[in-house]
Assembly symmetry: C2
Homo-oligomer: 303 residues x 2
Amino acid sequence: MSILVVGSVAMDSVKTPFGSVKNALGGSATYFSVSASYFAPVNLVAVVGSDFPADYLDVLRKHDISLEGLQTVPGKTFRWKGQYTYDLNQAETLDTQLNVFAHFSPKIPDAYRNSKYVFLGNIDPELQREVLRQVKSPALVACDTMNFWIERKPHELKKTLKHVDILVINEAEVRQLAEESSLVKAARAICSWGPKALVIKRGEYGVLFFNRHHVFSAPAYPLEAVFDPTGAGDTFAGGFMGYIAKSGKLDDGHLRRAIVFGSIMASFDVEDFSLNRLRALNWKKITQRFAHFKKLTHFEMVK
Amino acid sequence: MSILVVGSVAMDSVKTPFGSVKNALGGSATYFSVSASYFAPVNLVAVVGSDFPADYLDVLRKHDISLEGLQTVPGKTFRWKGQYTYDLNQAETLDTQLNVFAHFSPKIPDAYRNSKYVFLGNIDPELQREVLRQVKSPALVACDTMNFWIERKPHELKKTLKHVDILVINEAEVRQLAEESSLVKAARAICSWGPKALVIKRGEYGVLFFNRHHVFSAPAYPLEAVFDPTGAGDTFAGGFMGYIAKSGKLDDGHLRRAIVFGSIMASFDVEDFSLNRLRALNWKKITQRFAHFKKLTHFEMVK
């Protein structure tokens, strides 16, 4: 079953204590798509400028990502420049040039309208609803957002959330959105606005999942070295949605495994700059790390 | 099998966004002892002043904690005053009066010298070694420390670590002690100095355990409301050592369950001020939360 993703395709310049890249392939929809492509067919909706390198398109094509919904318009591609200091937890944005992304109006090609799984990347909540109006009857709608929209368009965001099954956001954004410091209480509040479930991304501390019946906690996979955290959250979402689409199931057990697959994909992402590590994966490497992840968290009940 | 604990018994004045207490029962050895007492007999070594309230002694006695090693000397009991702001992650110390604790010289009563499980609370690393010289042949020595000793007595601390099986410290202290931001690398470094294992306490994010063969990650139990985090780390250590002493086993499976029991005890501790919640537990409540904790982290392998 195919996944529709709407978000940004960008060119990133990133500096970490371990090196730097300039105008590297990036963007939320890019990380999501490549990550999800290991699980299911991906339909990408985004916009790039006329300066977007052809070999970046080849990267996406090699992962069988459908580019029919990728608009190319005159002008420059969205560029983000950021750096991470030693603890790698917090990106410091040095420069954001929205360029062609500033006027992005997502158009869903006919061939995409039957996509069963929809991921609304971090864009204007009004545009997120515009996407939903163009799809037919998705089995699952998941959505990301950020502090920018929580602060500027809280009412539009809440209107969008009415149509969303799973909200996937950062811990700080959960607290900000619900105006509540207790994550348990914040999750309950957010799930009363529409979403059936909430996935809370906590960076190096892993993921917390809440729905009306269950709580699930998954740690981050402990890595010897983190080189570049850029895209980890979108890569998580790609693995999460990817496994759901691959399995076609939405019960608690499958959602838990989807979270673990998301965490594993994110752990690969941060091991190198841009999508360098993500591009070089295969199913065996992914399932091997899944097995390690199981050992990492497993304990037996007391008799 | 009994546990020997050496540390502080204190009177705490704590303010959180949810209330405050004055001169409440506190101290690292107190939290540790009450927590461990649900699992195994506890032998306490500490010092209090002549002002220490008799009903605080009764609390300890009710938990069958041996007080033969609790010295009472002229002067005032160790007092700590602190507050937590809204996020509850970081205590701000407002005042520390060491009082009789400043000249604490741990004397291990004869009846304690055969204790099989030894926990060296956060005291001067030279005193920690002094304790070890007085015990006969412990099956396991675990130890806590803090930034104060890492900064002032790094060489003494490293000498102590040669005699320690498991070091139990905070995440920031791990990085500071090893001078290394990667926890995986830091754990490897610390385990080369003597300890066979490292337990990294991460507050609301749970615990990471490293030894030479395994990594285990346990989340914190998600709570609706955290009232007062004081003593959570010591309470964790009490549950951890308590379960080890109760089971008498040190294999990977038992150590993992010990970490989960530690996490559960800490989750009870933070639900009320001082030891109020810890004092009111029973084995059924503890194992019920253990079962919830299992559900919280469980997922199945992919076929």
